[in-house]
C-alpha cells in the first residue's frame, strides 16, 4: 500500500501520496523537501508527474531484494560513486586509518542492532543467521579472528597503537548515522531492521558489477599487492569473501518474510542516507592524517 516516504502517511493510491507530498513541499516542510531532493528530483514537478515518479521509484519488478540492490548501486556506485569508494581505489594511510577509527564504532553498534532483530523475531532461521553474523563480526569463527579484531590489527599495521585507536570518540556524522540505525532498531519490526542493516553489506559485494556498479568497493589488486601490510589485506579480504554471502542471504530472508514492502523500502532508504553520511565521516577522519584527502571530496 502506497506510503509517504517522509512521514509514512498511507493512502490507497500513489496519486494521493503525490498530492500530499506536493503540498508538504509547497509549504517547505524540510523532511518532505529533503526526501524528494535526495531521492527523486531537485526540480519541482506537478502532482501528476510526481505521482508517476513515485510509483516508478517504488515499483518492485522482480523482488524486494532486487529493488534494494538496484537502489544501493544507484546511490553509492552510480553516476558519481561515493567519494569514500573512490578513495578506496587507491587508499592512502590516511584513508585506511579514517576507516579503522570510525568503523570500530560502526561495528559495535552493528552487533547491538542485530541483537534487536533476535529479540523481536521468533523465526528460528533468522535467529541463527543473526547469531552467526554477530559471531563473525565480534568473536571470529573456526579459530579466525573477528572482523572487529581484523579492523584493529589493520590500524596497528599502519602504525597506530591499539589503545590510541580505541580512545577515539566517533565523529558527529558517525554518531548521527548510528543514532539513525538505533532509531530504526527501536521503532521498526525485525524484517525492516534486517533489510536496513544487511543491505549495507552490499557495499563490499563483489557481484555488484554484474548489476551495473562501475567499480568494486576497493581496488582488488590491493589483495595481491606488496604495497600494503598483510593486516590491511587480511581485513579487506575478509569482507570481500564474506559480505557477498551475508547480504545475499539476509536479503533472501527479507524477501521471504516481508509483509509490508513499501514500509521496508522507506526504512532501507533511511539507512542508505545514514550510510552515505557515515562513509564521508571516514574520509573526514582520514584528513587528520592526510591533508590531501580533502581533494577527494572536492
Amino acid at each position: 500500500m502506497p506510503i509517504c516516504p517522509s512521514c509514512e502517511y498511507r493512502a490507497s493510491e500513489w496519486k494521493n501520496i503525490a498530492s500530499h507530498m506536493y503540498l508538504m513541499a509547497r509549504n517547505s516542510d524540510p523532511s518532505h523537501v529533503m526526501w524528494m531532493n535526495r531521492n527523486l528530483t531537485m526540480k519541482e514537478v506537478d502532482v501528476d508527474n510526481l505521482s508517476i515518479m513515485l510509483e516508478n521509484f517504488f515499483s518492485i519488478k522482480d523482488n524486494l531484494s532486487f529493488w534494494i540492490r538496484e537502489k544501493f548501486i544507484q546511490k553509492f556506485y552510480g553516476e558519481s560513486p561515493h567519494p569514500f569508494i573512490l578513495a578506496m581505489q587507491n587508499p592512502t594511510r590516511g584513508v585506511l586509518l579514517g576507516y579503522v577509527i570510525e568503523h570500530q564504532h560502526f561495528l559495535k553498534n552493528w552487533v547491538k542492532v542485530l541483537s534487536e532483530i533476535i529479540f523481536k523475531t521468533d523465526v528460528e532461521e533468522v535467529i541463527k543467521y543473526e547469531l552467526e553474523n554477530i559471531n563473525v563480526e565480534y568473536f571470529g569463527y573456526n579459530g579466525r579472528p573477528s572482523h572487529y579484531e581484523l579492523l584493529i590489527r589493520m590500524g596497528e599495521s599502519l602504525g597506530m597503537p591499539r589503545e590510541k585507536i580505541l580512545s577515539y570518540k566517533p565523529l558527529p556524522s558517525t554518531q548521527s548515522a548510528i543514532n539513525t540505525w538505533r532509531k530504526i532498531a527501536f521503532e521498526s519490526n525485525w524484517v525492516e531492521i534486517m533489510a536496513a542493516m544487511h543491505s549495507l553489506e552490499l557495499v563490499a559485494d563483489k557481484t555488484l558489477r554484474k548489476y551495473g556498479a562501475k567499480m568494486h568497493y576497493f581496488n582488488e589488486t590491493i589483495l595481491s599487492s606488496n604495497d600494503f601490510p598483510k593486516e590491511v589485506k587480511d581485513f579487506l579480504r575478509e569482507g570481500y569473501e564474506a559480505d557477498q554471502t551475508h547480504a545475499g542471504e539476509a536479503l533472501k530472508l527479507v524477501d521471504k518474510y516481508a509483509e509490508d514492502p513499501e514500509k521496508i523500502q522507506v526504512t532501507v532508504l533511511r539507512s542508505f542516507d545514514a550510510f552515505a553520511k557515515y562513509l564521508t565521516a571516514r574520509l573526514e577522519r582520514g584528513m587528520e592524517f592526510d591533508k590531501n584527502l580533502i581533494k577527494v571530496v572536492l
Binding site: S28, P30, V33, M42, S173, S176, I294, V297, L298
Partner: protein, 106 residues
C-alpha cells in the same frame, strides 16, 4: 550576491535554493539586504551560518559572489569572492543545520 550551485545560477524560485539548488519549496530569507529563495528553513539556516562564518574568518563586510559545489552527503566545496579577493573552503553541516566541519583550502 551572485550565487552558483553546482554550476547553475541559484537564489530565486525559478533557479533554485541558494544552498542546494532545489526548486521545491517556497521559503525566503533576507540576507545582507537581499531576499533569497530556499527550499526549506534548514537550508536557509545552513546558508546563514555559512555566511556568518565566512565573514568572521575573513573580516569581510559583504560577499559579492559565492559558488557552491557538492551536497549534503559529501559536504560542500565553496569559493566566496568580494572586491577582487577570493576565499576557498569546504563546509559540512550537522543534524541541526550547524556547521560541523569547516576547512579553509589553500
Amino acid at each position: 550576491m551572485k550565487i552558483q550551485v553546482n554550476g547553475s545560477k541559484a537564489g530565486d524560485k525559478e533557479n533554485g535554493c541558494a544552498l542546494c539548488g532545489a526548486t521545491w519549496g517556497d521559503y525566503y530569507e533576507e540576507i545582507d539586504g537581499e531576499k533569497l529563495f530556499f527550499c526549506c528553513d534548514v537550508c536557509a539556516t545552513e546558508f546563514k551560518n555559512m555566511i556568518e562564518e565566512i565573514k568572521r574568518r575573513t573580516g569581510w563586510k559583504k560577499i559579492d559572489e559565492l559558488s557552491i559545489e557538492g551536497n549534503y552527503y559529501k559536504g560542500r566545496n565553496c569559493v566566496a569572492k568580494t572586491e577582487g579577493r577570493e576565499y576557498k573552503f569546504y563546509v559540512k553541516f550537522g543534524d541541526d543545520a550547524e556547521i560541523e566541519t569547516f576547512k579553509e583550502i589553500e
